[in-house]
Amino acid sequence: MEKHLKRSDRAKTFVLPNKCFEKHVACAWRRGNSFTVYPRSQTVSKNQGNISDNKILKVRQEILLFIPILRKLINDSNGVFLSLQKVAENTNSDNQVEFWKLSRQYRSIVRSIIENLQEAAEEESDALAKNSLNSYATIFYSIECIWHLCEILFIKNIPGDVVLPFLLEWVCCHFPSHDQTAAQLLEARERGSEDHPEYWDTVVSLIIQGRIDDARDLLRLHSASESAEFKLVANSLRTMPVYNIYGGISSGEFTIVWKHWQAECRAILNSQSLSSLPYLQLIMRLLIGDYTAFESICSKYPSWFYLLGGYVLFTRPWARRRELADAAAACAGLGAAHAHSHLNTVIRALLEGDLHQMIYEIQQMSDNGWFATHLTDMLYHCGKLQVLDEHQTDMTKRLRDSLVLEYGSLVMEHGALWCTGLSYLAACPPEGPRRAELLLERLPLDSEEKAMRIIAEAKKYDLLGVVQTVCACMSARGRGAGRVGAALAWAGRARGAGLCAGAAHAALRGYCAGAPLPAADMLLSAGSTLLMDDTLLLLGKYSDFHRLYNNKEFKKAAKLLISLITSKIAPEYFWETLLLDTLPLLEAEEPVFSSTETYEILLCLELRTKLLTGEKADLLRLACVRNLARTVLLDGVEE
């Protein structure tokens, strides 16, 4: 029951316009995520009065990714995705570095999409469209931010696992504060900069961003920078130890140095020498990692992400990737702002290393699953993803596959992007190719060019069923349009005997009914294709017979015709034509049929009395007899 409730919670309700269906509605699925709703009544109603009110509604999911700007994202990221699959295939090389490079490529794609969206928003005059462009840009902002953090925590190869410098970089990059003020002040280099209303906020911001040197520079611009108090603080900042994995000291040693330095800072603070200067006091409190100090400045920032880097810097600068959860919890506890936002949940999950939760959260973003799919795929290939279900079985591959399949099917819905979608489906065997097969068969074949493209792609992924279907479809279409040549050519491609037979029968029947023999050019050059089916072979050879006859090579033509008669591959309806074709040759000036061949004709004639009757049969008998009279004595001589 509870499960049921949860389900209905997630369902969305859409109200169809105009209340067009009061009752009796049915719906039918179309290709992809669209369906049609139509009125249907179980009872046959006698009065057809209100039928004009009924409408057929086509309902489809609106896909954000298909707007032109985001189509670039689809295509661009598809290239990276395919490179990633390729890298993942060979297991021996230094994949981690390659993965990191590809991850950066993904990020740069997202970055350029954000720029594109912003440019478009600037040029857009319609307020509503502008608004939605801006909101798309916001979505991709958070995507980039999350991806970057993910890259630091899971993809990048960090020596010694000391994450701090990268964490600070992440904060500077995505949550800059007072950047411009700092740049202005440092540029102007005027003493007495403290007159600037944001002077102290800027100094504090620089410190919590880990930009200690800039902060010292800025302090030097204070008019009282020569005073003992300022020198004290500046000196503390200068002597702050920085951990470096290649610095030649062990982390234990560093911890001692660090603790010693913080003890000194604490001593300065306790000595009350700074009591008259609250800002300097604040700085010192930050340096010793005083939680209340962070609390006091927290309200100046829109969210706790701004403080994360600084908090780690002054509490646990040697923190490893796995140890960030505590810092995150502490920072998140600083202030209520942003505490319940989506980004907050995702980043908390990331810092806690709960990728499953993170993926669940990013699936809720309205980017049609682009982000969840690509990031999950990346993490899966990096080997960093492990998802267990309640029975402790490994669901990682299933999770990744289901996301990639879903995204692939979604992209394939677009008429022009089927090829891109296909490459995603093909990346998750065995289910992907099977899905691809179903979707490919349903693509509209508006030209031969398209058919050939679909065949080429299907062959690439070994979907031979699709090749067959498409060829059969084109062949049937050719036959329907009365183009026997095209029908046969496509049937030949499909290697389908049935199709060949169908097309050949159509051609032969047409010929019997008086139409000219079609597709001579094709039949005479078809080669081994003819062997696929008896009727086709007959058609081909019969065509050849016509050619020989027209070229006045009667002997050869006669030989061929006899072989067609004796091989008995002709369908019933064609016997009459075949037998009557012997007539002119029997009556030729020079005898072309030998007596044995004439007997064969007579035999056929007698065996199939039903097919050739009356005057025609008599005429043929007469011709045979006359030919026999001419040839019966010649036979021995010729051989």
Partner: protein, 342 residues
């Protein structure tokens, strides 16, 4: 991927079927046409290379747009500023671009409606070729039409030139065209003779695969090259009636072939498997003796080939202008290759 500094990629959100430089008289071309296919709305666009956001490098910027129904299947120049465009709804258009102001919309000079049809219904015009104001078009109906671009009329129609669909066409001389069909059956037509029979015909190979493109050598027009659906390239010498020398070149269909306009020894080919190759044909072309010299084409290693671009998706079209090459394809991107040594 061979992505170095000389290749700039621009994503354009449409699959480009054909891409063509608009040549300038004494300078490198700066503008080009693209024609899209397989989308809800297809169009011919004019682009100009321009500096975007004060960058050091030039990127394509779109300046005008001409919407067509159906897919664009071929774009060829008939004059300096006039192109012939064929579409999959059986139409051929002559479009003119202003010589001085490229931004002004394209002007439709002529349109031939329903040029290709099966049983009265329009069918795709698959390709066209131009020579000195004449246009030869072929379609899925198996007909060949010769159009006059000055008068805008149809000079000649060869009905039922082929019982299959035709997929490629090329002028050999002003009165001779060669066509290739779905099965790789090549036919040469003399436009002066009035009967609808080819003067020559031969097969691409035994595999019954479509001939996707045909070109002739710019200075020795009796050499005909054709590319097939399976990636083979064949070469005929029309002076001697010999079997073609074929070469399994690309892993998948050849989409376009071109000799570099400034250097007839340089052949470029693009393919469905996503490669753009340059071929050094000097050794092949120098040898004026017949038959034996084609051995050079049999082996990819002896003719020097070089990969200029590799993509995961099919490359549909390219065009060269001096050292600049434009490539476009199914990945909805225009690749601009600079400093190509020809």
């Amino acid at each position: 991927m061979a992505q170095d500094g000389n290749i700039k990629v621009t994503f354009v959100s449409q699959k480009i079927k054909k891409i063509r430089w608009i040549p300038e008289d004494y300078a490198e071309a700066q503008c080009f046409f693209t024609g899209s296919w397989d989308d809800e709305v297809n169009n011919i666009k004019v682009w100009v290379l321009d500096y975007i956001n004060d960058n050091e490098v030039k990127y394509p910027k779109y300046v005008s747009n001409f919407v067509v129904e159906g897919n664009v299947t071929e774009i060829q120049f008939t004059g300096k500023n006039v192109i012939a465009v064929s579409t999959s709804d059986g139409k051929v258009r002559l479009l003119q671009i202003s010589e001085y102001e490229r931004k002004t919309p394209l002007k439709e000079v002529f349109i031939w409606n329903n040029l290709h049809k099966i049983a009265g219904r329009a069918c795709p015009c698959t390709s066209l070729a131009t020579m000195e104001g004449d246009i030869a078009t072929v379609g899925e109906d198996g007909n060949v039409n010769i159009l006059n671009s000055r008068r805008g009329d149809i000079t000649r129609t060869i009905t039922d030139a082929d019982s299959c669909s035709l997929h490629s066409v090329c002028f050999i001389k002003h009165n001779e065209v060669i066509t290739g069909n779905l099965r790789g059956h090549m036919k040469i037509w003399d436009l002066r003779s009035s009967d609808n029979k080819p003067t020559h015909s031969f097969l691409f190979g035994g595999d019954q695969l479509a001939a996707t493109c045909i070109i002739n050598h710019p200075t020795q027009p009796y050499y005909i090259l054709a590319g097939s659906e399976s990636g083979e390239i064949a070469m005929w010498d029309l002076r001697v009636n010999t079997f073609p020398s074929t070469l399994k070149a690309h892993p998948s269909g050849v989409t376009e072939m071109k000799f570099h306009p400034e250097n007839p020894n340089k052949l470029l080919t693009s393919s469905l498997s996503g490669e753009l190759w340059e071929w050094n044909m000097e050794a092949v072309m120098k040898n004026t003796k017949t038959t034996e010299n084609w051995i050079a084409l049999q082996d990819k290693n002896t003719t020097q080939t070089n990969t200029l671009l590799e993509s995961f998706k099919p490359l549909n079209s390219f065009d060269c202008n001096k050292g600049n090459i434009l490539v476009a394809g199914e990945n909805e991107a225009i690749h601009f290759i600079k400093n190509f040594k020809y």
